[in-house]
Symmetry: C2
Subunit: 208 residues, 2 copies
């Protein structure tokens, strides 16, 4: 799913004009958006990836989210009172920037492609919300074992198979689950010993 799904090529140009969309190419490490408090903008990742970073009043940085191809960022999503937000490109990244007002206020003509665009955007945002609920579902589990099992069943259900490849490195998975990596590796070992899963590299098989 992407924000321009089901919009014909010939209409895209019209849409971009209507939205006053700005194309940006940002090199690795470059800042896509900073200091969001003032501007209400939508940012669509065309390709590449970026990190959403929060800088609190003490100057501590924390990674809030990672944006990938087709992802949408909107300032209201991260309304982190009293702290600054930056979006930094993790690699060469192309984005489209749109002012929120231009996005939401359709012109009088009621162009079908603008409606389609809003429809797509809403879908992507609802999907993001779903991802968050999934993560909360995992993070609220008390033990590392429960977190792993919840994560594995979610992936397994998505793929429709008890055998699947996890889409993260084990280091990244530990971060996602918010547990110590070494403790997580230990727990995976125990899950294997208890014959609940099988592991070959990043391919997991659930045995129950």
């Amino acid at each position: 799913m992407n924000a321009f799904n089901n919009i014909e090529k010939k209409d895209l140009d019209k849409l971009f004009k209507c939205l006053h969309a700005i194309n940006l190419n940002i090199k690795k490490g470059g800042t896509i958006i900073s200091n969001l408090s003032n501007t209400d903008t939508i940012c669509i990742i065309i390709d590449g990836s970026a990190s959403v970073i929060r800088i609190d009043y003490n100057g501590n940085k924390s990674l809030i989210d990672t944006l990938h191809k087709d992802d949408i960022f909107e300032s209201k999503m991260f309304n982190l009172n009293n702290s600054e937000l930056s979006i930094i490109a993790n690699e060469e990244t192309n984005v489209i920037i749109i002012e929120y007002g231009k996005f939401i206020n359709r012109c009088k003509k009621n162009c079908p492609y603008h409606n389609q665009f809003i429809d797509n955007t809403l879908s992507i945002i609802l999907n993001k919300l779903n991802d968050n609920y999934e993560r909360i579902q995992i993070l609220t589990k008390k033990t590392t074992r429960e977190k792993l099992r919840e994560y594995f069943t979610i992936i397994s259900n998505k793929r429709g198979s008890k055998r699947f490849r996890i889409p993260l490195s084990y280091s990244d998975l530990a971060n996602y689950l918010s547990v110590d990596r070494s403790a997580m590796m230990r727990e995976i070992k125990y899950l294997k010993e208890d014959n609940l899963i099988e592991v070959e590299n990043r391919i997991i098989t659930i045995k129950y």
Copy 2:
């Protein structure tokens, strides 16, 4: 903020007709929506409150979210593959049910109130997304102490004061932070002893 903000009373009836909106009054314990897999619906809580409950393949129930007045529920938010979802009224609750298709496909007339309604809805959803990011920000902290401090600073920033009343009982707070209640009480005691906070019932003062 509520989904019908800035829509005039006289337009509301037209909007409801246009949306084919259904009003429901559900008594305490009653089911608002169940078995969501098939229907793509939007549910707006007019007053009362409700619990979003997930029932997994083993029949285990877990509370996913609590809906309050003005909250919006959309099935795509909880696209929990392979498990059922129910929304149960926690008290007498009035809701409005709208089919997603009717919501997103504006009629040819491009009625301003329909646009306003979509605008409002998107705002509420973005706000929900923000709430989720806040909770994830808290849940990814490793220790109970860090979770508490993160929670306190978020509330403090929202209220614009170092002294504030927490909007939850301590039992509910423990649930929200996903920590053991007794362990949390112990940690609050330590925070007091270390002179980092002051506590009078549910009023907290941050001392740094």
